[in-house]
């Protein structure tokens, strides 16, 4: 079981991802709606893992990764991306994100990715 922070601007997807993660036996200990808020929250709650949406208003996911990695180079961040965002995913992974989940997300793919990074 891992403690997880979910970063997504959409309430619906946060909820959905939370449901999936919790059904996999993990605990969602924090939620944030943009990269900056995520970085601030990360400091406070120190989750084992962060799921980071790519396109978010204000501070996007890639900047979010950068902010978190600056604070904790060992942070485990998984990008959540839509079709056609692979370039952004690559960019984020170069900055230190470990893996990615492609929308639409399914329990089994989320599980596979978590198994790989945890």
């Amino acid at each position: 079981m891992a403690t997880i922070m979910v970063v997504d601007d959409s309430t619906y997807f946060r909820l959905k991802l939370k449901m999936v993660l919790e059904s996999l036996g993990h605990q969602v200990i924090g939620e944030a709606t943009d990269g900056k808020k995520a970085a601030i929250l990360y400091d406070k709650i120190q989750p084992d893992l962060v799921t980071m949406d790519i396109s978010m208003p204000n501070v996007n996911g890639i900047e979010g990764v950068q902010l978190i990695m600056e604070k904790d180079p060992n942070a485990v961040i998984i990008m959540v991306s839509a079709m056609g965002q692979k370039h952004h995913v690559l960019e984020a992974m170069k900055l230190g994100a470990k893996h990615f989940i492609l929308k639409p997300m399914h329990e089994e793919t989320v599980k596979n990715v978590l198994d790989k990074v945890l």
């Binding site: 959409s10 619906y12 997807f13 959905k16 396109s55 991306s81 839509a82 079709m83 056609g84 965002q85 692979k86 370039h87 995913v89 690559l90 992974m93 170069k94 994100a97 470990k98 893996h99 990615f100 492609l102 929308k103 639409p104 997300m105 790989k116 990074v117």
Partner: protein, 848 residues
Amino acid sequence: MTNKKRVVIFFVSFIGLIYLYGIINSFIYQDTLSNTQSVNIDKTSFCDIYNPELTIENRELDAGESNIYFYQYKFSKDDLKDLNLSVKQNENIYLMIEKPDANYIEAKINDQNIGSFGEVEGNSNIWNGTFFIRFNENIIEDENTLSIQIKSSYMTGIAGDIRFLNYEDYHQIQQKIEYGFDFIKAAIIVAFLVAIIIGLVVMAWYKELYNIRVYLYFFLSIVAIGISLFDFSVTQSLPIDYLLFKKIIIISYHVTITFATLAVASLLNAKYKMNIGMIGLTLVLIKAFTTTNMIDWRNTYTLLNLFLVASILQLLITVFYYRKRAPIRSFLFMIALTLGTFTIVKLIYITNLSLESTMLIDLPILVIIYAAVVLFVFYIELLQMVDNYDLSGEKLNSMSLQGSFTIDKTLQVVGAYTNSCNAIFDQLIVGKNLTKLMYGEDEIEFINDILDSIFDYKNDFKDGFIDLLPNEITLNEKRYRVYYQYLETTNKFLKITLNDVTKSTNLGAELEEQKWQQRFLINALMSKQELSYFIKNTKLFLETLGEEGFTLDNQKHLHTLKGNLGQFGFVHFEKTVHEVETLLESNAYDAFELVTILEKGLNQAIVYLEQHIGKDYFTESYQEITIPKSAVDELETAYLASENYQPDVLKQIRHLRNVDIKKMLSRYSNYVNRMAEIMDKAVLPLEIKGESVFVEPSKSEELLMVLVGIFRNSMTHGIESPEDRIALEKDSYGIITCHVSTVDETLIISIKDDGSGVNTENVLQRAVDADIITEAESHQLSRSEILKLIFKSKLSTEEVSNVLAGRGIGLSAVVEVVNKLEGQIDIISEEGIGTEFIINIPLSKLID
């Protein structure tokens, strides 16, 4: 007959004929020689002149000054009788000297000079071939001395027979030699032409074919063949600078064999391609530049030939080890190998033994043959590829292929790979760049970026990058699933496995489609509200797009939309959006057309949902969402607190609080039921029909509250007791119906019952009693005017007030509120049939 067979037959016959002819010719030559009435003086061999221990009968070998050597022989006139000279006098006798090797040769009989070759001064040399010196018999005495003087600064002397011949025999042998040369010349020309043709084919095809390095090796072999040819022709036109020439020749042998071995190793994609022949080649080159002495040179290259043997050995091992990769090729290589080995044996044989080297096929020819076989193998490769091109689609499609190979950090294919890869890619993949092999032009940069990241030592977590690589590709009209595996030993590799899924993809596509559709429907049912809201917003967005076009903001929005589509399972619409985005990137698009495409995509999805879940899926939930009021309040407060809020937006936020008037009316359902219970009346559940009209609760609440008057009126004065209703031939259950509609921004609420209707006489009486109107006036009033009297306060037609009615909140209160809202209230009543109250209120009064 296939092309391949033709080529095989051509080469086999070509090489076979040369050999056969060489062997036959050498036998014929030997036979001719032994059948002649020649007189054999000596049988010399290489380097006799440097061998002081060697004593041969009849031969006196003296070393003179400054590299001059003498071969001296005694013979009598009787010795020559075997020549069978004819009776006529002054017949010519021929002195045959086989393979002399010197700067200058001079022959004397009894101190009389009978002929010479070469030049006394200078570096020109005589080598190889057979030389004849003609002299007249009359110089022969009873006892004679034959003296052959050789001037040789670094030569090896004579390496063959020394004989006397008569004219007929000389003529015969000369002819045999010439025939042999002619044939070999012809064969060489053919071989050379073939080499040129193949060279041209390679030039023309090199872009599409295999590994360019393999070609380079072959070209070097061809160059070496050319030099060998040169060797052969030059040998016949002496004198030349023989040492230099010989150096070139030996180097060319090394080049041929070394690079041919390299080419074979490359073709088979052997782990070790470099061969020991390269060391030999390097040493030979060094030696060639430092040696000025022929003897030294010969001794050196005899030793260095061992490297050639090693190179051939490596070839043997390579072919044996990798034979499964290319059975046909391996077989051909075995032939090449045999010939190559023979060449080496011959080399050693000539240089070390060289006792009876009379075979016409000499070293240059063997090298040519060796190289020709390599070329042949190469040509087979070409044909195999041509055959692959010719493969009908049917044949290709019937095969299911799987292959794997490895790339290193240069992104080039290295090491062993399964043979089927050649078929999958339709080319030899060794040394090829992965991105160019597998991916489209537009992806190359991105893929290279990913691959570089994978091989970057700084990224210790490779999985994410690997998963970014395309997991399905199309090659030569076949679909492959691609698996990647990162391997780290002393070096870093990425193993790539391709699995042909063409067939299963075709079969699976349908299933996949069904799966997606199911997911879509399940998602839609489970997240009905979200989805409805989402679709509504998407529609609005598309309208905006139609009006504003693809501004940067709208493009961003479109992108977000796409992500959400995926989550909701709109697979097809998602693809549509993706395609539109791609078109947008091209910058040459028609905005209107793109919006139409998007609208079409959305509509298809909606139609699909309606077909499978039902039409009311949208109509039901479309218009209504549930948001906690507190959330809206919070939002409003937050927005008001923001520095520069816009009144319009605030208005929109407040609208979130609006409630459907139908929902507000539904509270009377309970009220009506309770009243019916108390009054012992029977009513059907309150029916609320019509449009959903959203109004602000705070502004509408008063109206809703006073409407109780109407319901109460209907229940007390309208609906009769069940007994009465039955007597009146009505259904025992009364009906009260509400209907909500809007006309020109006006809300219309109608509340209707099927009760007794208003008793106008009763109303008039009470109005007169209550001093609302006079007796006189009462006679002049029309029915509708009388009906309106019931809206006047103090007029209560119910004698007994009870808990539920008659507490002052009567119909007058309704009128008061309606008037306040600048509305109207009307009453239509038919005695015995029922009463309808119609309220009109401007919507603006109910909504901010």
